[in-house]
Symmetry: C2
Subunit: 402 residues, 2 copies
């Protein structure tokens, strides 16, 4: 009985997209590599890895990547014990899967040394210009310095966002997955509105949110979100990223829910705010302003317009209502892994001149965080040929529970 991690013939267990779709993606990435003068690309962002190769596993706490060259199949590179996972989920042939041994895991030996020697030098790719995702979570400072040390003849080019930007326009299959996420999210909000009441512990509601998300809808089981449910109440809602505790909901406070329905790693996020009791006038004023602002933003969300146009339309309504709101009001969405469900490329903000195209998807997310309270009413949208449509149908309003 011998523990192994490399036998041939392990079956493909999961297939989220046809091989043809992966090949289209590969060609898009290669065209951009050529445009930016790269011969080779090391893809470290787990969502980029998944989008390029199909690889799906909770293994990104170890160094892993996909290496894209101009002629061969992309190479999946990861930890030995994950090799069967790569065989099960990627579209590539087994010969394109390359595992590093266990002595490179969390020791002085860095996996990028193994990549340098066994893959890049091993395939005679020394001297090439290599794109690396300089500001990806999972491409650490040591990843860069290790590669540079062991590959002195290669040159290094910043490829942050290169693959992410190719993901912007979604295919029909991707949109289908996101709409399933949207339907899951509708069930999550129905459950929240059913259950929330004074005296309920916050963690007990989050338990129901998670359970509903993962049960999914119809035959479609839900997947895990890249960001856990954010449910700040009262003064906690003056800042967006506090997680829940085991305190009880009380009358006379607002709670916003920043949550997503997820199917096969595709996210449909959406926020709503629930006030228990009679909302103060400031909540009602903010609700009115935000809803008008979203309507104005959605009017501006159409092909040919820019990301900035959505933000400007929203801000002009806010200004009319006397609410100072800066920063960005949204970001592109799609496939993702923790810790972020945004695509980390464009933003819906003043100055972002990215032209909107049919198939682009955004979380239009104008969160309002004031001195001691907050309100979030948001929409996930897809740009259509003539305008935009929402990916999820939850009434656009401040919910009031008495």
């Amino acid at each position: 009985m011998s523990e192994i991690s490399g036998d041939a013939g392990f079956p493909k267990l999961r297939k989220f997209f046809d091989r043809a779709e992966y090949l289209v993606r590969l060609e898009k990435v290669r065209a951009e590599m050529v445009a930016r003068g790269m011969d080779l690309l090391i893809v470290s962002d787990p969502a980029n890895i998944g989008w390029m190769s199909g690889y799906d596993g909770y293994s990104f706490y170890n160094h892993q990547c996909v290496v894209v060259s101009m002629d061969n199949e992309p190479v999946w590179f990861g930890r030995g014990i994950d090799l069967n996972g790569a065989k099960a989920t990627t579209y590539m042939t087994d010969s394109a899967l390359f595992a590093y041994p266990e002595e490179y895991v969390q020791r002085d030996l860095h996996p990028m040394e193994y990549l340098a020697r066994e893959v890049i030098a091993g395939r005679h790719w020394e001297g090439l210009a290599v794109g690396v995702e300089m500001d990806s979570f999972y491409f650490s400072a040591a990843s860069l310095t290790t590669l540079q040390k062991h590959l002195p003849k290669n040159s290094w080019v910043d490829a942050t966002g290169l693959v992410n930007r190719q993901r912007a326009v979604k295919s029909e299959t991707e949109l289908r997955y996101m709409r399933i996420g949207g339907r899951i999210l509708e069930k999550m909000y129905a459950r929240i509105l059913d259950l929330i009441e004074p005296g309920m512990r916050k963690n007990d509601l989050v338990a129901e949110i998670f359970a509903t998300a993962i049960r999914g809808v119809d035959d479609f089981g839900g997947d895990y979100p890249s960001i856990v449910p954010l449910v700040p109440t009262g003064i906690e809602a003056a800042t967006p990223h506090l997680t829940w505790d085991d305190s009880k909901f009380q009358r006379g406070a607002g709670t916003f829910f920043e949550i997503a329905g997820v199917y096969r790693r595709y996210h449909c996020p959406l926020s709503r705010t629930v006030y228990i009791g009679q909302p103060p006038q400031k909540f009602l004023n903010a609700e009115k302003a935000v809803i008008e602002g979203i309507e104005a933003g959605l009017e501006a969300a159409k092909p040919g317009n820019t990301c900035e146009d959505i933000a400007t339309a929203f801000f002009s309504v806010m200004n009319r209502h006397g609410i100072q709101k800066g920063g960005r009001v949204g970001y592109p969405i799609g496939m993702s892994y923790p810790p972020d469900w945004g695509e980390r490329t464009t933003s819906l903000r003043v100055g972002d001149k990215t032209v909107l195209e049919p198939g682009m998807t955004f979380h239009f997310m104008p969160g309002l965080w004031f001195e001691d309270w907050g309100l979030e009413i948001t929409e996930s949208i897809v740009i259509t040929t003539t305008g935009s449509s929402c990916l999820c149908d939850v009434p656009r309003k401040l919910f009031v529970k008495n």
Copy 2:
């Protein structure tokens, strides 16, 4: 009505440890900085940030850090909208909290440029030797190159694992949190064994696992795990990191559960395997070997022995049973954030001479992943003054459900 993110007087909403405990931690870290010749330390790992400052929020998808100098309070540095979150959760005074503006979020401007100029140069820390966590997830290659570019007079020292290693020996409060995690985990396993049956969809069971984890135990609400439940069945169990899908459990296959109970970010992980139907002899043989191996490992888990001793004791039993098992059989645990619940310092493996001390906590995790099946039976343990004890009480066996 003006959106803000910086008013004075925001209340401390959460306090997981006394200020005195944070000061002890700070002195331990400073002593290690001196020993390694660092004047300043930039802490990027969210668990290290939390352990040093108390900061707790799902905001680590943005650049953030804690800067430790030799005399002042540690500086929390993060995104503007998270400043109130820092006020709510850190033990420091508001003057130690420093936020970067929204134009540094996911644009060409890098937050580390702001840190360099406003914090490090602003406090006249140019010329100092700065420790950086070179191989932390959240200290990207661009974080390093940006700091180096804007602070040409500073020198840079690798501080990977420096803070992590100070976290190894747990305080009484930390152990209490981990034991609460263990009690939550006991409920999670009871729920799994209650529910699992042929025909149940895997995602529906994961929904119950999540819900039970977050409901918690008694008055203690559960927190989110840094790794989602891993529940591979049959051939999927030949690799450890595939996540669930919506297929149904069937008779005649084993499923291992790699899950954790979590309280206030402190994790108690533990794996068990459930076989539906009559287990083949190979499962029963592996069960027997692993249980004997764990017993041998636990015998070796005592102060004065080393991490290696636990691994060697385990492997010698495996060899006797004719099972080849390499790599590591465990890692230290405690506070963590996605994507990993290990402390990423020592390992239970041959060659690791770290001496065991009372209060150290490990996930003793000898996973077996074979050609087309796998088995995980593990324990989370704390080293005591005389030996070790388990943090969670789940029968140590292969569970069989007929």
